[in-house]
């Protein structure tokens, strides 16, 4: 299988402000968010990043999307380096996170055209793709309604559509179903499966075990910025459920106990 995405010894640390030091009751001035992280995703594969809050999942995805620069290491997207060619990387990926917001003043129609232009998608191609995606997500009848007047679920669907205007081969989703009602969450999950069937490479970060079990081929468990385990879903769950396996790994790596 062809390597589409290669994460190599990635490291990222942040300075902790005096205020944060107080809140976190620590004297440490530096917080290592991601520490020597490496993994590879192959063509047509769905790779899940699993970990508790603050484990470094979002920072890893931001570095993969060339939004944040790594202190060390690199990410190669179809051979393009996020360190050397960040613009090239951005043109090859679709990135969706709940932190990315849409201008509420604009309509879905306008936003689709705007982001298509920024991605260099031709007008005819953009129009055909818009029609297909808008119909798939039931956006067509809201296409001329300002985003600010739409429901949270519809906004998330529009964000999802906008993130893939250029039909990328690699799609990175950070907590794609977070905060969504069950109906919208199902629409998003089903779409991820459709993308998988189309042979797209998907990196998905989540702490929802059922989502991982439903769509992922391989899973990387991140704890304290380090890759604790990276294996196929099949291997990870051959003895125990994914949830039980995760807590075992967590207790072992973080040295903390938990209640089942």
């Amino acid at each position: 299988m062809r390597e589409l995405l290669k994460v190599q010894n990635l490291r990222k640390s942040f300075k902790i402000s005096a205020k944060q030091q107080k809140i976190q009751n620590t004297k440490e001035r530096i917080k290592v968010a991601v520490d020597d992280l490496s993994f590879t995703a192959y063509e047509g594969e769905v790779f899940g990043l699993l970990g508790p809050n603050g484990a470094g999942k979002t920072t890893t995805l931001r570095m993969m999307s060339a939004l944040v620069k790594p202190d060390q290491g690199d990410v190669l997207i179809e051979g393009s380096s996020v360190v050397k060619n960040p613009d090239e990387v951005r043109s090859k990926i679709g990135f969706l996170t709940s932190e990315l917001k849409l201008e509420e003043f604009f309509t879905p129609n306008y936003l689709f055209s705007f982001f298509s232009e920024l991605h260099g998608v031709g007008k005819a191609e953009a129009a055909a793709r818009k029609q297909k995606l808008f119909e798939r997500f039931g956006i067509t009848k809201f296409a001329e309604v300002k985003v600010g007047n739409l429901s949270t679920g519809m906004k998330q669907k529009i964000s999802l559509v906008i993130s893939i205007v250029h039909d990328p081969d690699i799609i990175i989703f950070d907590e794609p179903t977070n905060g969504l009602d069950v109906l919208t969450a199902k629409v998003v999950t089903d779409f991820l499966l459709e993308l998988k069937d189309q042979g797209k490479t998907i990196i998905v970060s989540t702490h929802i075990f059922s989502l991982i079990e439903k769509i992922c081929d391989r899973v990387g468990v991140i704890i304290d910025g380090k890759m604790a385990v990276c294996d196929t879903l099949e291997h990870l769950t051959n003895e125990k459920s994914l949830e039980d396996k995760f807590f075992d790994i967590y207790a072992e790596r973080a040295g903390e106990t938990y209640e089942k």
Binding site: S65, L67, K69, D87, R90, E99, L118, H119
Partner: protein, 395 residues
């Protein structure tokens, strides 16, 4: 990828021009409010210091001397009414009560003409006294008092007329109408333009940059392959255009209401300037707006939200206003080209030169080149900031 600059610009224009609230508050309201404010101020000032045009001034005179019987109030309609000593008290009461038709009560001594003819200025005796009673809270009464004083002063001068100064209708003031206009415009317009241009920039840049950070929409833009420099250029050019339109609105409001504010002064008008003066002004204004927008954009990129950005930009606006005042102080108007590398000061002084009809081409060229250079550096800095996660994603 130059198309991405156009795409960013189109988006900024669409965002602005399809938002009726923003168009109203940024383009229409500034000009309209300035026009209304200055017009009302002009009307207020003229009514404060002068009678209304259709008012007939009523002056009640006790013992009106023959020498003054032919006096008239110039262009203003005046009616002199003779009253006796016993009627004077009644007229004073009416004046105190600001009754309609009572503007001034003048009391001359009996035999005023004889007394003035006999009076020797070198003697120690009391000069004949004329008493003018008026009510300062009534503008018509105040005007009547001023007019009567002028008449009496002129009459007093004519009694001892030994020589005349500037007699006849000959023009003694050698300043032309152009000089007068140049003096007024070169003092006021550079400062007003700086204020209006800065206000225009403040109305749009914090909203477009700090606002996008605050709403999380800038991150959505940064995920796309658009170059940070293209994003910075697209934003700065589009915001500059909008800021110029906003500044133009304020400028038009000012120019249209200025005659009302200045009491319809005939000698001051903007038609004394030629097309070349306006072209030079336009170049200076364009380069100035680029500098201001760049400064405000960089500050806005550092700020976490619009409120913080506006707070940080305000001191810079005050500095630009102070620099605007330098056009009013001759000792602060430098002519050496080196001074024209100082941003904002160079714009004020270049405009001062143009409006005083003494434009220095070298200094204007230095100003425009320096400003475009500073804007270029600003675009570079802004692009770096768009690429800096600490700046863009700080909470």
């Amino acid at each position: 990828m130059k198309n991405s600059i156009m795409t960013v610009m189109k988006k900024e224009f669409t965002r602005f021009f399809t938002d009726r609230r923003m168009v109203l508050t940024t383009l229409i309201m500034p000009g309209l409010m300035i026009y209304l404010l200055y017009s009302f101020m002009g009307s207020g000032l003229s009514s404060q210091f002068g009678s209304s045009e259709d008012h007939v001034t009523s002056i009640y005179v006790e013992n009106l001397p023959d020498s003054l019987k032919n006096l008239a109030g110039g262009e203003a309609p005046v009616v002199f009414q003779h009253i006796t000593e016993s009627e004077t008290q009644q007229a004073l009461k009416a004046l105190q009560d600001t009754e309609e038709g009572y503007d001034l009560v003048a009391v001359f001594p009996e035999e005023f003409d004889a007394q003035t003819a006999a009076y020797d200025v070198a003697s120690d005796t009391q000069a004949p006294a004329v008493k003018l009673y008026y009510n300062s809270t009534d503008t018509d009464s105040q005007s009547a008092y001023n007019m009567m004083r002028d008449l009496l002063d002129a009459y007093e001068s004519s009694l001892a007329n030994k020589f005349d100064v500037n007699p006849g209708d000959e023009a003694y003031d050698m300043a032309t109408d152009e000089d007068l206009s140049a003096q007024v415009f070169s003092m006021m317009v550079p400062m007003l333009l700086m204020v209006f241009l800065f206000s225009g920039c403040m109305a749009v840049a914090p909203e477009s940059i700090a606002g996008e950070k605050e709403r999380g929409t800038i991150a959505t833009l940064l995920v796309t392959p658009v170059k940070r420099s293209h994003l910075a250029i697209g934003k700065i050019i589009s915001l500059s255009v909008i800021a110029i339109l906003s500044g133009l609105s304020s400028f038009m409001g000012t120019m249209l209401s200025l005659p009302k504010l200045m009491g319809e002064q005939e000698n001051v008008n903007a038609s004394v300037y030629g097309i070349d003066d306006y072209a030079l002004t336009l170049f200076v204004i364009l380069s100035t707006v680029l500098v201001i927008i760049t400064i405000v954009s960089i500050i806005s990129a550092f700020a976490k939200n619009v409120k913080e950005a506006t707070g940080w930009v305000t001191p810079v606006m005050i500095i630009s206003m102070l620099l605007g005042v330098t056009s009013m102080v001759e000792s602060l108007c430098m002519t050496e080209p080196v001074w024209y590398f100082i941003p904002l000061y160079n714009s004020v002084q270049s405009m001062n030169g143009i409006f005083s009809m003494e434009p220095n081409l070298v200094n204007i060229i230095v100003t425009v080149i320096a400003n475009v250079g500073y804007a270029g550096i600003g675009v570079f800095v802004l692009a770096k900031m768009f690429d800096n996660e600490k700046v863009m994603f700080s909470k």
